[in-house]
Structure formats: C-alpha cells, structure tokens
Amino acid sequence: MKFLPIVWRNLMRRKFRTFFTVGAIFFAFLLFGVLMAIRAAFSMGVDMAGQGRLMVIDKVSIINPLPASYEGRIRQIEGVTDTTHANWFGGYYQDVRNQFATFATDPESWLRIYSKEFELPEDQKKAFFADRTGAIVGLDTAKKYGFKVGQRVPIQGTIYRRPDGGPWEFTIDGIYDSKIKGADKTNLIFNYQFLRETIPERSGFRDRYNWYVFTIDNPDRAPEIAAKIDAMFANSPSETKTNTEKAFVSDWAKQVGDIGKIMMWIVAMAMFTILLVSGNTMAQAIRERTNELAVLKTLGFGDARILSMVLLESFVIALVGGGLGLALSYTFITLTGDPTHGLLPAFYFPTPSLIAGVVLVAALGIASGFLPAWQASRLRIVDALRRN
C-alpha cells in the first residue's frame, strides 16, 4: 500500500491514455451487463420457474382448452397438493399496442400457488376474492398506465369477445409486487367466472381452461405424477401433456430460439475485442517503462515487489473501468428494467452473472499486467537499463 502513490503517478503520467483505457474497459463491462440481462430475458425467466409446480396442457396445442372436469381428477392423484387453472385472455388497454399478459383464473387457488410471484396486502386479496369483476395487476403495468387501486379500467380482449363487442370493465382490487428478482410484474389476472358468462354454451369453449397448474408434495416425484396424469387422459378427445413449469418455460424460450444464442456469441466476441485492445495498451504502457523498472531494481526493489506494483497498476485500471461499467449497467438495468416496455419482462441482471463480471474484471487486471511484469522482473538489470 505504501507504493500506491508511485502507482498513481505512473497512471497519471499519460492521463489521456489512462482515461481512454479505463473508458474502453468501462464500455466493455457496460456491454457485458446489458448482454447478461438480454440473456436472462431470452430465457424467459426459466430460472424463476418453480420446481415443485407442474403444468398440464392439451397434447396437440395449448390453444385447445381442457375440460374443467379435469381439475377434480388431477386433484385426486396421490401427491398432488393444490391445483389452479388459467385461460389466456390476450387483453389490451385502449389501444391494441398496449398489450400485457392477461389471464382469467380462479383467484384463491392462483394466489395460493403463486404466493411468492404475486404478493399483495391481505385486504387487497380479500377484496379481490369477494369481487367477481375484480382484477389484480402487476406493479409495472400499474405504473405504466397509472392504474390505482379501486379504479375501474376497460380491458379489451383479443381472443374473447363480449356479445356487445365492448371492453370488459374490471375494478383494480390490488396491485401485486414480488421480491423475486426479474419477476414478471406486468400481468393482469381476473376471475374466470366473469369471463365464463360471456362464453356461449354452444361454442363448446365454456368451462374449458387453457392450462392447469398444480403443486406436488415432493419435486422428485414429478415425472411419475406427470406420467400418471397423461395416462389417465390418454385416448380421450383431450389428451394432455404434463411437465414441470420449468420444462414448459424452457421449451417456450427455445421457441424464440437461436436469436438469443447468436446475440450472445457475437457480443461476447465484441467484448473480447475491446478487452484485447485495452489489455494490449495496458501491457504496452508497462513495456515502455522497462528501463525504469530496472532503475527500481537497482535501488533494491525485489522481483516480487516489482511484480506486485505493476500488477497493482493494471488492477487499478481494470477495477475502475470494469467496476464502474458493472455498477452503471446494474443500476441502469435495475432502474429502467425492460427496454422494450413489456415484451421482455425478465430483463434483469442475474447475481451469478454479476459475480462472473467481477471475476472477469480481476482476470483482465491480472492478465494484462502479468506478462510485462513477469518479463520485467526477470530482466537482468544491465540489459534493461540499456533498453530504450
């Protein structure tokens, strides 16, 4: 630590170069942060999907709803602890461009199963359970459109239609939040019974749900229970496909496909290039001072001390640039969230990626300083002094 002033002096002697090197590293890590958030977004929150939750959909396609009678039969299976169901409503507010995920469900069982994902005060919950035309909405959507608790909002459906063609009027009974990082706070959920009234009996779509969600007592039994359910409904007009929520989310993310992966690759390469350039400059800055290092050695500085001083210098550059980059991207991503306004709700900076970033910063500091420092420490003083 005693030598910090000399390290500082060395950094400041070419302020311009130091500034731009720090800047390049800063942007590389800013990019890293954005990249990690994009990756998280494209995996559609697969890390958040519950292990102990399973989903049942129609085997042919999720757009074919399953009969309501299935719920009781699923619940009877040994090991199943709770069930709920949902219908994709496809709602929008005022303009078709203002879409957010909207489901019709059974409020009580939904909030039991998703208690961590949909957190709201007890009184709001009670109001929602008691209100047939009520809805709860995520904090992000509420903020975006200025929805307040108690407000009546008209929501138009793209899939379901009211006989008069007008929008559904929901009372916002609650606004949910979640402590889970990257949780989707854009949804609007409401009571299926309110939707049911508008579905004509003869359409064949009444009392049919797009998917069921259920919890089980032991996550290890998921494959066995899933197989049992699918076997139970085999050879019926509505055969089922049961799997963990995680598997469904992961399949869904894979549908988006290569794009996320390709972006990852190309941007990782770009970051590598920027780091290569700045690392090279940092190494260069030390290489051109070889004879100064020799002077220090003449004065009695040991090899180890020289090595650590040089490493400290490159470390400071990496730490300032990389640290600022990571910090800014973290704040930016956490504050603004999804840049596409609702299309990639799981846009967040995952903690493991943050750790990876810190490791990368350290690795850059070591890698760019180590080679020239090592060369310098091994030099014979006479040769080094003669070098110019």
């Binding site: 311009f16 954005v34 085997k59 793209t158 055969e239 894979k254 549908q255 290569d258 920027i274 350039v277």
Partner: protein, 393 residues
C-alpha cells in the same frame, strides 16, 4: 501543402508494417464491432424480407374487427358467405376469388433443439391455391380435399422434425399424411402447414367457423370499395387490410425487440470501439512522437501531420470494416432459422439477410469510428511543442 500531406501520409502508411501489432489490434477491434452490427441487423432485415415477400398488394385479409392477428380472429360460416359476395373482389367462372382460412397451431418438435414449438397449421379450401397464386408444390403433390392430408412449407420442413413427403403425423386423435412440400416466394406461408379446412374444423372443434378470409382484388384500386362495403354492412363486424400492411404489423413486436437490442448493443459497442481505436492510434502516435517532431522541425505544418494520422486511422478502420462485413456476410447471409412470432404465437422461419445497404451502413459506421478514434491522437501530435517532443524517448 498538398505535397506535404501526401508525403507525411505516405510515410505513415508505409510504416504501418513496422507497427503491425497495434495496427492489427485496431483492425480486429473495428472488424469485431462491424461484424456484430451487421449480424444483429441482418436478423431484422431477414424478418423484414420474409414479410415483404408475403405482401402481395392485391391480396386483402379480412378478419373480425379489433383482431390484430389471425390467431385471435373468428368469422362464422355465414359471415364468410356475406364477405364472398362483396364487391371489388376478383371473380372467375367458379365464383369469387376468396379463401376462407382457419389458423391454428400444433405442438411439434423443432429440429435444432428437439423441443416442442408451435407450428402454424392452416386449413384452406381449394380456392386458396387460386388466391395465393405464387404458391407452387415443389415436391410430392397437393392435398386431396376431404382427406387428412397436409402440405408443408419449405421453411417449415427445414425447421421441424420429420416433415418429409410420405410421413405420417399423429396429433391427438388425428393422423395426417404429409403429401407435398410447397414454396411461396419466400413468404411467411412457407413456415406453415396447410390442410383441408373442412377436415381441420372438427379436429379443433371449430364447427363451421373460420378465422380469416383472403380475397384477391378485382383491380388494385378496388380496395376502398371492398373495405367500405364490408365495414358498412350491418351483418358484419370485420376489418379489411391489404396483405403488406397486415404482414408489416405482424412482426412489429419481433422487429422492435431485435432493433432495440441491436441499437443498444451497437451504440455501446461503437463507443467502446472508438475508445479502443483512440488508444490504439494514441499508442501509434506516441511511439512516433520523435519522428513527428522531426518532421515538424524540418518544416512540415501541423495540418499535414493531423491529416496523416486521420488518414491512417480511417484506413485501418476501413480495412477492419471490410473484414467485419465480409465475415458477417460469409458467416450469416442466408443462415436459416426460426423464431417465435409473438403476435401470432407461432414459429416463423426466416433467413439472415446481409444486404448491400447494410454493408454500406456498416462501412460508414467504421469510418466514423476511425475518424473519431484518430482525431484526439492527431490533435495531440500536432500540438506537441517540437523541442519537448524531440527530447521524448
């Protein structure tokens, strides 16, 4: 002056090989940025190209009013008959050139991941092949109406498992036979499977309902006439859109995601690369401080010195830009893949398109990066007091 500029620039450029290391780093840096820039935007271009190919301006899509996609639309059989009689639609001996269609999705595994994805399955009537007149069967044969037969789009056949002529596909209680592969000028229908709508309706419990009606216009000008007739008819609550408008709106979400991400990445990376170029050029200038001072002592002005550094920086970035562009073109142009179209909830296949316009844009971008990157070091080189600079090591 000019001769000075040429002389100094000549010296600079000829001395690049002596500074091969740092010059290569600069070139690689710019090439990397351009590569990424082109690659990301070629995705958007590719999606765009597919949508353009689908937009025959004489084709009109009629859906339930308020639906933004076929997926969520719905039209009863009676409404379809009313639509078919509307004015402004082209007719032949057998009636109006309209194609009522039913659009659903089925779960089928993707080749690339083996995981299930939503394949669009479209039920059509025989008229569909007159309305979509670019469509042609390139392998096998067309479906026989009344049978559980399917023809697959060329792109769908490439993206999904087991879509070959002659294979049987079992979805739920229904077993279909794939009898042919079709092409449609690279349009979005190539991502779909087509079958007889009368067979599809009961399989999906849709009674006698459809989701959309495609109609061929009698003349390009008759759109307004058709639209007015449909929207003013009290029996109907439908909206009519020209196919190019519809397909343009279909991938809005997807394009917005790609472009937003592309912009964020592009700008951040561009700035990072400018910083990289600055330090590279700075190092190059710094290592030649004495050389530059000597030139100035000999009577060369500062403008030629500034220009020479700029020219070098631009030259390096152009080389980098060309490399990046060519690599992007070789690696990505025509690369076929599929992704989720958020609006229709189904897979859409497309090929990355590295267009000449995109390459030109990227080259322009790399020149700007070079100019910005070269400016500060050049400025510094020109302002150094000659005496100090001569003394520098």
């Amino acid at each position: 002056m000019l001769s000075q500029i040429i002389a100094v620039t000549g010296v600079n450029i000829r001395s690049i090989p002596a500074r091969l290391g740092s010059s290569t780093v600069a070139v690689v840096g710019i090439a990397g940025v351009v590569l990424v820039f082109v690659a990301v935007l070629s995705i958007a271009e590719g999606v765009n190209a597919t949508m353009k190919a689908s937009g025959d301006p004489n084709l009109v899509l009629i859906m339930r009013a308020g639906s933004d996609t076929e997926m969520t639309s719905g039209l009863g059989g009676d409404a379809v008959r009313v639509i078919q009689d509307a004015p402004g639609i082209a007719r032949d001996s057998s009636g109006s050139l309209t194609s009522p269609e039913l659009f659903v999705v089925v779960d089928h595994p993707l080749k690339r991941s083996g995981s299930p994805a939503n394949v669009p399955l479209r039920g059509v009537t025989p008229e569909a092949f007159k309305v979509h007149d670019h469509l042609k069967i390139v392998d096998g044969r067309n479906i026989e109406f009344g049978k559980k037969e399917i023809v697959a789009g060329r792109a769908a056949a490439r993206q999904f498992v087991g879509l070959n002529v002659g294979t049987e596909l079992k979805w739920g209680e229904n077993t279909w036979t794939l009898v042919g592969i079709f092409e449609d000028g690279g349009s979005v229908s190539e991502s779909e499977l087509w079958c007889d709508v009368k067979v599809l309706q009961p399989a999906y419990r849709r009674g006698n309902s459809y989701q959309s009606v495609y109609a061929r216009l009698a003349s390009p000008d008759s759109f307004q006439q058709l639209k007015d007739a449909l929207t003013s008819n009290p029996q109907l609550t439908v909206s009519a859109m020209r196919a190019p408008d519809y397909y343009g709106s279909q991938t809005q979400t997807l394009q917005m995601i790609i472009r937003t991400i592309g912009m964020v990445i592009g700008v951040l990376m561009g700035v990072g690369a400018v910083f990289g170029a600055v330090i590279t050029m700075y190092t190059a200038v710094a290592s030649r401080t004495r050389e530059i001072a000597t030139l100035r002592a000999l009577g060369f002005g500062s403008i030629p010195v500034v220009l020479s550094v700029l020219v070098e920086a631009v030259l390096l970035s152009v080389v980098g830009g060309l490399f990046g562009g060519v690599i992007a073109w070789a690696a990505f142009d025509g690369y076929e893949t599929a992704t989720m179209n958020f609006q229709s909830f189904s897979q859409i296949a497309f090929a990355f398109a590295v267009t000449p316009a995109l390459l030109a844009q990227a080259l322009g971008y790399s020149i700007i990066m070079g100019l910005l990157g070269g400016f500060f070091p050049a400025w510094r080189a020109a302002r150094l007091p000659v005496v100090t600079a001569l003394r520098e090591l």
